[in-house]
């Protein structure tokens, strides 16, 4: 399944016009009608292998602040494997993102490689989760992973770019790349805004 997903994925991104000053809302009568469905990227069913995982249950917190910590995850055998499976195949986008975020709690070379590959996912939300997963790895000794995050700074989706900026800044790495991205063409305005904030700290 993982290979299939990677084969289908690409560095797609969502165009993100810069955040403008919030103007007054204007009344609308109706939203657009939904077009016919395209082919789903992944199955709409939760794969049996992960549907019964107690780890999955914990990823459904209504408030992101309530996601489990490492101690809670450690009470479940194979929690890291479950998280990787969920990040790969779960049909709920937020489960995939949160699973990747929690994999940051596992400093492990294999998980680092896995998360770097997930940076190629078609879903920006998953790519953002993959960047945050890499925050838990030893980036100072892994040039490959560090470069992958630096590339993510340029992602047209602000969730990915901001995640990359926060991870690099948090690790004290790639200051030169951050400074370049702060003014580079094509970097999302919200990413540049966040980079500027981080550089000023």
């Amino acid at each position: 399944m993982l290979l299939l997903l990677l084969a289908c994925s690409g560095a797609q991104s969502v165009d993100g016009p810069e955040l403008e000053a919030l103007a007054a809302a204007t009344p609308v009568t109706e939203l657009p009608a939904k077009p016919e469905d395209g082919d789903p990227l992944i199955s709409d069913n939760v794969p049996v292998a992960v549907s019964s995982s107690p780890v999955r249950d914990l990823l459904l917190a209504k408030d992101v602040a309530d996601l489990p910590d490492r101690a809670a995850l450690d009470t479940h055998p194979d929690a890291a494997k479950d998280l990787a499976d969920l990040a790969t195949v779960d049909p709920q986008l937020i489960v995939r993102e949160r699973a990747l975020m929690l994999l940051a709690l596992y400093p492990d070379a294999h998980i680092g490689v896995f998360c770097r590959k997930m940076l190629e996912d078609a879903e920006p939300k998953v790519r953002a989760g993959a960047v945050r997963c890499l925050a838990g790895q030893d980036l100072s000794s892994s040039k490959t992973q560090r470069q992958a995050i630096e590339m993510a700074l340029l992602d047209a989706d602000p969730r990915v770019g901001i995640a990359a900026a926060e991870v690099l800044s948090g690790a004290g790495l790639s200051q030169d790349k951050l400074k370049q991205a702060a003014t580079a063409t094509g970097v999302h305005a919200q990413t540049q805004e966040r980079i500027t904030e981080l550089l000023e700290q």
Binding site: L19, L22, A23, A25, D57, V64, I94
Partner: protein, 393 residues
């Protein structure tokens, strides 16, 4: 209580009545708590008979040494017997605000001068009150806080040192009983957020099903708005978003802002402006719920069932409902008839999942985590809090 502190509301809202300068603050804080004044004959009379009313009072802060927060004057308010609900909000743009004192007759619900972890102290039962943007209290939040008294005393506060700065106390009240009632919604589609009419309709149908299944209010009229720009917002811009000019004719509705996603707050489904947040108000701090579309994507589609449950849940927070059980099994909810999940239900990881608590409150719409089961149960008191909200009509 000094007579000068007793203000009379003069009309319908929003009416700025007068500016209070450098008022003294009475009897704030020994360890036994604040001495609560009585309403005199010249106390403010709340609201208008048979109507939803929004009234405002401007005041000035001074530093309250005894409570360690900035405080405004104590305001005494005569509560007519036909009052079914009250929401009070302290507005100082961009500052965390709240109440140093909330008392109804001889019942003190919030008193910042009380020792920590005693009833009525900040972050203690029944309100678990703390400062927030657009700090708000709602009566009732429990059966015991129903506004059946005669004299309400409020003292605005702020966690920041605002000595000499002005603030506004908003009083939103409803002096009629709508029964189960309905809640109208002001839904603002933010920027280029992708949401189709069928999806919104399905999500609101689910929200309505959740609320009405056990006797809560219906989802009423939906007023749609849109803004220009991006559907992605920075978390720090949430407050600015909630202050977006909507231009609604009446505040008697719940404001819901639908965004594509937070760009820097990963893993978020939605967020209320407080527990409770401002209700009956708009274009101000905390005044509305934000829900992220991308947090509800399932496969190639929007999971409108979950989005409807998120809407019901977050609006529940905004109207004053807490989680029935928190993630670690603790409780910050004061409703006696809402089931709680016992410690024995935990599988050992310290987190109480919906499945583990399915025999108790795992199916309640205010449970802390979603699950593989429908969460459409309300206790009688939860339904009461929703139906008695000032915005319910």
């Amino acid at each position: 209580m000094e007579a000068a502190l007793r203000l009379r509301l003069l009309g319908l809202a929003p009416v700025v009545l007068m500016f209070l300068g450098c008022l003294g603050v009475d009897a704030v804080g020994d360890t036994a708590g604040t001495e609560v004044p009585n309403c005199g004959s010249d106390a403010l009379v709340l609201g208008s008979e048979g109507a939803f009313t929004h009234e405002t009072i401007d005041f000035e802060f001074e530093w309250g040494n005894d409570v360690g927060v900035s405080v405004g004057p104590m305001v005494t308010i005569a509560v007519p017997s036909d009052t079914s609900s009250i929401a009070a909000t302290v507005e100082v743009r961009g500052e965390e605000t709240g109440f140093a004192l909330v008392a109804l007759d001889d019942k003190t619900f919030i008193d910042a001068a009380r020792p920590d972890e005693t009833d009525g102290a900040w972050w203690s039962a029944p309100y678990y009150h703390w400062g927030g943007l657009g700090g708000t209290v709602v009566l009732p939040i429990t059966p015991g806080t129903t506004p059946d008294g005669e004299c309400l005393v409020l003292q605005p506060a702020s966690l920041s040192d605002l000595e000499g700065r002005s603030g506004t106390l908003h009083l939103v009240s409803r002096r009629f009983d709508p029964g189960q009632g309905q809640v109208d919604l002001n839904i603002v589609i933010v920027g280029d957020t992708a949401l189709y009419q069928e999806e919104l309709d399905a999500a609101l149908t689910r929200m309505d099903d959740v609320w009405t299944g056990d006797g809560g209010p219906r989802v009423g009229q939906v007023n749609l708005y849109s803004t220009q720009g991006s559907g992605f917002i920075r978390y720090n811009d949430s407050n600015e978003l909630r202050a977006t000019p909507i231009g609604v004719a009446s505040g008697q509705a719940m404001n819901i802002f639908i965004i594509q996603d937070y760009s820097d707050e990963p893993g978020t489904l939605g967020e209320a402006g407080g527990i409770p947040g401002p209700v009956g108000l708009f274009e101000m701090d905390g005044a509305g719920v934000i829900v992220a579309v991308d947090g509800h994507i399932w496969g190639n589609d929007l999971d409108t069932q979950t989005m409807g449950e998120t809407l019901a849940h977050e609006v529940g927070h905004q109207m004053g409902l807490f989680h029935t059980t928190e993630d670690d099994g603790s409780r910050t909810e004061s409703l006696q008839d809402t089931p709680a999940c016992p410690a024995s239900a935990d599988d050992g990881d310290g987190y109480f999942s919906a499945e583990e608590c399915s025999e108790y409150d795992g199916g309640n719409f205010m449970f802390w985590v979603a699950g593989n089961l429908a969460q459409d149960q309300l206790s009688e008191s939860q339904a009461m809090v929703l139906s008695r909200s000032p915005i319910t009509q």
